[in-house]
């Protein structure tokens, strides 16, 4: 069959196994790989070569934007846009503007956190080659997968298959694009 290969997928039964496998693969010099687990496994991300995310920075920017927006939203109409004498209070009665400033800060940061996370994860992505792996549905239940991708320079169908086979997986399967 003339399907292009996405990579080789090894299935494991425990998080410890997949973690060990990932580290071993890394020592073997594989770089383009990813692990798929039903719950976050500590250290696994680092093992497959993912170190830090920019998410926090994004959220910080979001928060600051929200903060400024909030205050200006209250300040501008009251001081510039349409100043009115409200109960004898000064136009810029900033203490009264704090709640809205605060709420918008939270709102903006929260939204940037979620949207940032989804975007950085490249979602939505309903179609992904790994779903072609026959038993991949277990990845969201009780099995742990390690996939070495074909675009990895060191990738070779036979050697990689042997390498993965050596990590005593439940099985190793080819994943088409």
């Amino acid at each position: 069959m003339a399907q292009i290969l996405y990579g080789l997928m090894a299935e494991f039964e425990t998080p410890e196994q997949v973690l060990e496998a990932a580290e071993r693969a890394r020592d073997e010099g594989y770089r383009r790989m990813d692990a798929y687990t039903p719950f976050p496994v500590e250290g696994l991300a680092e093992a497959v070569g993912f170190y830090r995310t920019r998410l926090s920075a994004i959220v910080l920017c979001g928060g600051l934007t929200g903060c400024c927006t909030g205050f200006l939203l209250c300040w501008w109409p009251n001081v510039i846009g349409y100043p009115l004498n409200i109960g004898g209070k000064p136009y810029n009665s900033w203490p009264a503007f704090i709640p809205i400033t605060f709420e918008l800060t939270i709102l903006f940061s929260a939204l940037s956190a979620v949207i940032g996370m989804i975007a950085l994860n490249g979602l939505p992505m309903p179609y992904h080659p790994v779903f072609n792996a026959p038993r991949f549905d277990l990845a969201s239940r009780d099995r742990f997968f390690l996939c070495i991708e074909a675009r990895d320079p060191k990738f070779s169908l036979t050697e990689t298959r042997d390498f993965l086979g050596g990590l005593d997986p439940v099985e190793v399967s080819e994943v088409e694009c």
Binding site: P124, M125, P126, Y127, N132, A133, F136
Partner: protein, 216 residues
Amino acid sequence: MPQVFHRSMNTISRVSLVGAVLLIGGLGYLGWAFNQSPYYTNAKLQLEQPVPFSHKHHTMDDGIDCRYCHTSVEKSSFAGIPPTETCMTCHSQIWTNASMLEPVRASYATGQSLEWARVNALPDFVYFNHSIHVKKGIGCTTCHGQLGEMPITWKENTLYMRWCIDCHKHPEQYVRRREDVFKAVYHPPANQVEMGRQLVREYKIRTFTNCETCHR
């Protein structure tokens, strides 16, 4: 095999996300556009009138002053709509049997009033006073448009509050010399703002944006 979707679905889903955002924005814009549209504001709309009265003809060709018909514009909140007899002062002499003027003659004969369709209507909770605006050097055409160029009268502006407030905040951009107030066609001079500032001082124009100015 757990694959549920075709690969094209990735593009589709992302595009549709972007599309949704654009759609919301677009709807917002449409709402705003509708709000400004003549359909909604009646601006620039020519209404059906019993007599196709032409301000252009009467003010420019005949050179009749606004106050000849709108008698109370300088002393009352209401500019005044001329009674039929005002029309007849001339039209008992000229165009005495123009068919277009039949309703006017009929009204004069029967005592039944002409029913004009209102062109510049404000909501009833808005209290506008013509006399003070005229006194302060705000010309007819500033709000009513270049009447001297209107064969059939239409509403020139939206008459939205935002529009009123704009002038109430920056009168210098609109005020004119008192002698020019009743010009049926008026184009502000190049130095409007500079002249405006000077007139604002001269006419003691204060910028009222407090509510009781118009709402009581």
